[in-house]
């Protein structure tokens, strides 16, 4: 046993660390889904400052969005795996843990990126 430890000490430690790493990653990301997710939320440029993005390569059509960041576990509980069909995903509930909606800020994101049509109403 002592000979084994002597010869394979460093490789044993490395393998143990690797197994712990794989186990910890599996538990965190697959089992607990303990991470944040960000995605594009709905946005009305007539009432909010929205990000604008082209809808096709020619950019003949555009769409407006906000950036939402939430905890994956909660989001999964509300919406399941696909958030695109889930209205709850686009708003922060009162009892939600980590949840933020980021609107476009011309000073930070640039005036060309942001669209706000509130004055046109």
């Amino acid at each position: 046993m002592s000979s084994f430890c002597k010869n394979y000490f460093f490789s044993s430690i490395t393998i143990i660390l690797l197994l712990l790493l794989v186990g910890a990653s599996y538990v965190r990301f697959i089992h607990l889904q303990d991470y944040l997710v960000s995605y594009e939320g709905t946005c009305d440029p007539y009432s909010e400052s929205c990000f604008e993005e082209c809808d096709n390569p020619e950019c003949t059509e555009t769409y407006f969005y906000t950036l939402i960041e939430r905890h994956a576990t909660e989001l999964y509980q509300f919406c399941g795996p696909d958030v695109s069909e889930c209205d709850t995903a686009y708003e922060c509930q009162e009892n939600a843990g980590v949840c933020s909606i980021t609107y476009c800020d011309p000073e930070i994101d640039g005036e060309d990126t942001c669209v706000s049509l509130t004055e046109e109403l």
Partner: protein, 558 residues
């Protein structure tokens, strides 16, 4: 969670709207790395270097597979799981490369202190990779985690790659300087291969991630080019296996290379879209298979022949060494034996001479005849022993030459005068002629030169049953040479034996016709001595029964 902007893959790894180069940069390179890694390993399971190359191949293949998953899959949990393991794999790769090069250069395992240092360096990556300090979240819109990666963490494991490059570079330069021949070339190839791999892999993967994160690129497709570093590395490994038998592999290496090549060509099927491309790829594959078959056969044949030649060379080297040892011992034996014989012979000759001179009273006619035979035989034996001693001196490199300027014509004439009486006894006529345009001065050992001429004249007397022996001294001022020709009307020499008679203990096959005894060393000694004094001894003959001409040539001084 799923990335709802993207389509789910079919068969886990096949998705649409991906960069065309994706599968080509991932699958064949991964296959080549695994083929070479496993091939090397199975050809020497107990060799540490082979194990390390397999580990490098496995780590790289796993990283490439995980990377492919991140490109093709839309399940955020799966992507994040493999994403968290890719940084540690990169760190392990850099450490393994250092380990690999160390073993390659020193042929020894890493010292424990260095292992401990490497473990300390890699530990933070392994410990923090699954935590928020490395990776916090996932961007569903772009289906990646670049914006959630901790840049300090990324920089740390990328710095390990840079450290590996510097460490390996320093080691390679250090060992390259002192290495010679094939080892030097192996270090050069290995160095280029592994440094290119690390440079491509770490630099492009890091830059692609960084530039995607700050928004310069939409995605990290540039990292695909980084994978070709492994293809270069493995190609060089394959070349080294064939050329230098690195990893102690010889014959099957070409097969692996051909298989790897076929995998590369076949992998093009994964991204060809048009019928023309499919046909062209099929034709290329067929041609590559055919060419590969020929290469495998020819390489196998060449390797087999080379191995046979190498075995023969080793055997010959051993045999040659043994022969030299035996020859040396024989020379030592001859030298000792000859010295032991010479002393009693001197006494025999001395007393025989005194008896013949009637120093102990007058001898009867019969007694005089018997003592004369004793004197003749002992003189002959003394001459033979002198030959043996000369041979052993020449072979041991102990023959000393005292060079001085002297007149070759005069010395030759003296030898001719000395030998004339002996020749007349044998019924031969010795004449001396000269035709010199210069003085005939040479720079040589006077005693050795006389001995050479003496040997040549002696040789002619022995092998000339009747007739004449002409000693002719002449020169060639253009060539700056002076020649002593000993022309006899003796038994002659066959043309194919002329070179052989200058060998040790060699005599012409018709030498026994004249019923003379000889050691077969006179000409050998004469030529060796002449060559040591920048001259030469040659022979020519018009054939058996037509006499011979022996020539001593020496550089003419004036």
């Amino acid at each position: 969670m799923i990335c709802y902007y993207f389509d789910a893959p079919t068969y886990f790894l096949f998705a649409s709207d991906l960069p065309e180069l994706l599968y080509y940069s991932h699958i064949p390179v991964m296959a080549v790395a695994l083929i070479v890694g496993f091939f090397v390993f199975f050809n020497g399971r107990n060799v540490l270097l082979n194990k390390l190359l397999l580990l490098i191949s496995l780590c790289f293949a796993l990283w490439t597979f995980f990377n492919l998953i991140t490109w093709t899959n839309i399940d955020t949990t799966l992507i994040l799981f493999v994403w968290s393991l890719m940084g540690p794999l990169q760190a392990i790769l850099s450490i393994l490369c250092i380990y690999f090069i160390h073993v390659f250069l020193t042929k020894k395992d890493l010292p424990k202190k260095i292992k401990a240092l490497l473990l300390v360096l890699i530990s933070p990556v392994l410990i923090f990779a699954p935590t928020n300090l490395a990776l916090q979240g996932f961007d569903i819109t772009w289906c990646d985690a670049f914006s959630y990666e901790n840049q300090t963490f990324v920089l740390y494991y990328t710095a390990l790659g840079l450290l590996a490059m510097i460490w390996i570079g320093v080691m390679l330069v250090k060992y390259y300087r002192v290495a010679t021949g094939q080892a030097r070339r192996q270090i050069l190839f290995m160095g280029v291969g592994i440094e290119l791999f690390l440079l491509f892999f770490f630099a492009l993967v890091y830059l692609a991630g960084l530039l995607t994160n700050i928004g310069v690129f939409q995605d990290s497709r540039w990292e695909m080019y980084g994978l070709f570093g492994m293809a270069i590395f493995m190609t060089i490994m394959g070349f080294m296996i064939v050329r230098f038998k690195t990893f102690a592999i010889a014959t099957q290496a070409s097969q692996v290379l051909v298989v790897a090549l076929l995998v590369l060509v076949a992998s093009q099927f994964t991204f060809v879209t048009t019928t023309t491309s499919t046909i062209l790829t099929s034709v290329t594959l067929l041609l590559t298979s055919f060419a590969g078959l020929i290469i495998v056969r020819s390489v196998k044949k060449e390797v087999r022949q080379r191995e046979e030649i190498e075995e023969l060379a080793v055997s010959l080297k051993k045999a040659n060494k043994r022969l030299k040892e035996l020859d040396q011992r024989k020379s030592e034996f001859v030298s000792i034996a000859s010295h032991q014989l010479r002393s009693p012979l001197t006494s025999i000759r001395g007393y025989a001479s005194m008896l013949l001179e009637c120093s102990y009273g007058k001898l009867s006619k019969k007694a005089t005849e018997a003592v004369s035979r004793i004197a003749d035989s002992s003189t002959h034996m003394t001459s033979s022993i002198e030959d043996y001693l000369n041979v052993s001196r020449i072979e041991a490199g102990n023959m000393k030459y005292e060079l001085s300027d002297f007149n070759l014509k005069v010395e030759t004439e003296h030898v001719a005068d000395d030998k004339r009486k002996e020749a007349i006894k044998e019924g031969l006529l010795v004449t001396f002629k000269s035709n010199l345009t210069k003085q005939g001065i040479v720079n040589a050992d006077i005693g050795k030169t006389r001995q050479i001429i003496h040997n040549l004249v002696n040789n002619s007397i022995k092998y000339t049953p009747r007739g004449t022996i002409t000693i002719y001294v002449h020169d060639d001022t253009k060539k700056k040479k002076v020649y002593v020709d000993i022309i006899d009307s003796g038994i002659g020499i066959q043309s194919d034996e002329i070179d052989d008679i200058f060998g040790k203990f060699e005599r012409a096959h018709n030498a026994n016709q004249t019923n003379v005894t000889g050691t077969g060393l006179g000409l050998f000694v004469a030529r060796k001595m002449a060559r040591k004094m920048n001259g030469d001894v040659t022979a020519e003959s018009k054939g058996v029964g037509h006499g011979s001409t022996f020539r001593l040539e020496m550089p003419l001084v004036k």
